[in-house]
């Protein structure tokens, strides 16, 4: 159960090797979290993440989960929920793709869309149903600022996140009054290890900052969280910029 400050006792991470998810898990373990499930494709990285979190005092278990195999979601996630209440589900899986290559290879683009959107729709609905049955819990969905307005530089990834974002907002409204909270997190460009060395973009953020914002959002029972917070203002302006102007912006 979550306590009065929204700190969960159990956490399920979908996409168990995500840097943002692991940073969040570390923070939550420092609060109240004792049971952690890391769901992801079996890999040494997943096991290493489990070992690291275990060292911090949590009871960590891993479970094989593939976003591209929605047929198995019900069974895999059903088993996790059958083992006990899950207070927070963190949907952190997703791939950035490679815009230039994806434009050449439609199948690669489809993979981005299937992972980020259809996989998330399936997993999100399964988790929402399970949370609704237990009468409490939060579903944290990692969206992206890229989904807020299409950019030349990453519109394939952006469109998948736009779909996910809209889905999560609607799901949150559908779950109003059921005791389940859906929180949409919209970080700016995140400086993960994979992106190290690239030129720094404006309003970018770090996995640690996103994790901090997620913990705060859980405490405040927020519906939407922007990281950094100033993105909310910036994007509300950019959202209305005329397209001829937006195209010319150095974004």
């Amino acid at each position: 159960m979550k306590d009065a400050f929204g700190a969960p006792q159990s956490l399920l991470v979908l996409g168990g090797t995500s840097e943002i998810a692991l940073a969040t898990a570390r923070r939550l373990i420092a609060l109240r979290t004792r049971r952690v499930w890391l769901a992801g494709r079996p890999s040494p990285a997943l096991d290493a993440a489990a070992v690291e979190l275990r060292d911090r005092g949590a009871d960590v278990r891993t479970v094989a989960f593939d976003a591209l195999d929605p047929g198995a979601h019900e069974e895999v996630l059903g088993k996790v929920f059958a083992e006990g209440d899950i207070d927070v589900v963190l949907m952190a899986f997703g791939i950035a793709g490679d815009q230039a290559r994806d434009e050449e290879e439609p199948l690669a683009a489809v993979r981005v869309a299937q992972t980020n959107y259809t996989g998330a729709v399936s997993a999100g609905l399964v988790c929402a149903g399970a949370l609704q049955a237990q009468g409490h819990g939060s579903l944290v969905v990692l969206s992206s600022v890229a989904g807020e307005r299409a950019r030349r530089a990453d519109f394939i990834y952006g469109s998948s996140k736009a779909g996910l974002d809209t889905f999560a907002q609607g799901l949150g409204d559908a779950l109003q009054g059921t005791g389940v909270q859906v929180m949409v997190v919209r970080p700016g460009p995140v400086r993960t290890r994979a992106l190290a060395g690239r030129p720094e973009q404006p309003l970018s953020t770090t996995p640690e900052a996103v994790a901090g914002a997620i913990v705060t959002g859980l405490r405040r029972r927020s519906e939407t969280v922007w990281v950094p917070g100033s993105l909310r203002v910036v994007m509300s302006a950019l959202r209305h910029a005329p397209r001829p102007l937006f195209r010319r912006l150095p974004l």
Binding site: M1, D3, A4, Q134, G135, H136, R220
Partner: protein, 452 residues
């Protein structure tokens, strides 16, 4: 019986969860709900005055007991009453006062049910003399997991598990209470101001202080420096009829009809008013307007015991995030811990408006009952205060190190291991529950969170 799906919180308005709420009007309907419960169990709920999640059952059934509100038998000769669990203490007090009777234990709010009061084994300002409510219960009717109604009497293991048992042993359907007699509905109140915490504790224990059974103090937790822990001590005793003028003595016991409660309810106040500055100002005014020393002031019982009930929805004052109540007790001889806790709250400048210090006498037999000999301090704090979670964990450690405990019925945030360390009766409680209710028919969010 009405049935609906609702999102429920405690009085603190934190951690909402959803349950199916049933409102039984007879014992049979209540038994049917317990028998037909789903896998997530059932739980009785009264007026939802527990600040935390004690009366919530996420995804399960919640029995709203306020529909069971009949006073079944009132024996004026023997001074006993038998009533349903859903009767509120407010209503019961008004009925009793019109007959020269009074509840043996009156907690800080009248807006709780008899069942809830027993389930959290409430205490009053006269705990050193009167003990907690369980001491005055003659018998209980308890609806257990099999859907049967059992009569539970003091001295049995089930009674000790049920009083203060947070509704986890079954649904209390009715209770027989022993009452006390009063000659007037008035309380003779004496007030004194204490300049710091040492002064306050000394006044509490001063010679002759046990003449007035009721005593509690408000502490100004925003006072700093030499004034840290200053407060106002209020004592009271039931006024004898000699304090009333002659005409009032005749009519005193006359009104047999009970006026319905007409105090307003509903959101009258905007939320989030109690910031640090506003609270500091209010506390200053409250402290300075209290008399240095005054005796013999007459107040009605409602004004003396339940002054805070006059402000409906006072919980909304703490803003959208709600409030967290921190109530703990430390034994006599552990005053240094009490000092440290008060100093830490005061140094942190928490906007604490409600802060109440009382004394406890001998503990009762309830396995999870909170009162234990010593001092008890209750503070209401806005849940939105940054860093409050960790701060209160730190206070938990102080209290546990001093052999004290934090009140379960009012908790919304403790760690399971802390709770287990503070309540040595928990092992016996778990054993009894496992034996009586192996499928876990009665569950609450509090029990899930603290693994009770």
């Amino acid at each position: 019986m009405s049935v609906d799906t609702v999102s429920l919180t405690g009085w603190g308005r934190t951690a909402p969860t959803t349950a199916v709420r049933f409102r039984p009007r007879t014992y049979e309907e209540a038994a049917a709900v317990v028998r037909g419960r789903g896998p997530r169990g059932a739980l009785a709920r009264g007026l939802g005055r527990a600040p935390g999640d004690a009366a919530q059952n996420a995804g399960g059934s919640v029995l709203d007991m306020t529909g069971l509100d009949r006073v079944r038998a009132l024996d004026e000769e023997a001074a006993t009453v038998r009533c349903d669990a859903g009767v509120t203490l407010d209503r019961l007090l008004r009925i009793l006062l019109s007959r020269g009777l009074f509840l043996p234990v009156v907690p800080g709010t009248g807006r709780i049910t008899v069942g809830g009061a027993i389930g959290s084994d409430v205490h009053g300002q006269d705990h050193p003399g009167a003990g907690s409510l369980a001491r005055h219960v003659d018998a209980l009717e308890l609806l257990t997991a099999d859907g049967e109604v059992r009569t539970v009497t003091p001295g049995t293991a089930l009674f000790d598990a049920t009083t203060g048992g947070l509704g986890l042993t079954g649904v209390i359907l009715s209770a027989a209470l022993r009452l006390k007699r009063v000659t007037t509905p008035l309380v003779s109140v004496s007030t004194e101001r204490a300049t710091d915490l040492d002064d306050l504790l000394a006044r509490f224990t001063a010679a002759g202080s046990d003449r007035s059974p009721y005593a509690s103090a408000w502490i100004d937790l925003l006072a700093r420096g030499r004034a840290t822990g200053r407060g106002v001590l209020t004592r009271g005793e039931h006024a004898p009829s000699s304090v009333l003028p002659a005409h009032a003595r005749r009519t005193m016991r006359a009104p047999r009809t009970v006026e319905p409660d007409r105090r307003p309810t509903g959101p009258l106040l905007p939320g989030g008013l109690l910031g640090r500055t506003a609270t500091a100002l209010l506390n200053e005014v409250r402290y300075r307007s209290a008399p240095r020393a005054r005796t013999g002031e007459l107040r009605t019982t409602a004004a003396f015991f339940h002054a805070s009930d006059a402000l409906p929805d006072a919980n909304r004052l703490y803003g959208r995030a709600g409030l967290v109540r921190y109530r703990f007790t430390v034994g006599y001889g552990q005053e240094e811990t009490l000092h440290r806790v008060v100093r830490r709250i005061s140094a942190r400048r928490c906007p604490a408006f409600r802060a109440e210090l009382q004394r406890f006498g001998a503990a009762g037999a309830g396995l999870l009952s909170f009162p234990a000999p010593g001092w008890t301090l209750a503070v209401d704090l806005p849940a939105a205060l940054p860093g409050l979670a960790r701060f209160l964990d730190g206070l938990d450690d102080e209290v546990a190190a001093a052999g004290g405990r934090v009140c379960l019925a009012q908790d919304a945030r403790m760690r399971p291991e802390t709770a287990a360390a503070m309540y040595p009766g928990l092992g016996a409680f778990r054993e009894l529950r496992a034996e009586l209710d192996p499928t876990g028919a009665f569950r609450s969010d509090l029990a899930r969170r603290l693994a009770l």
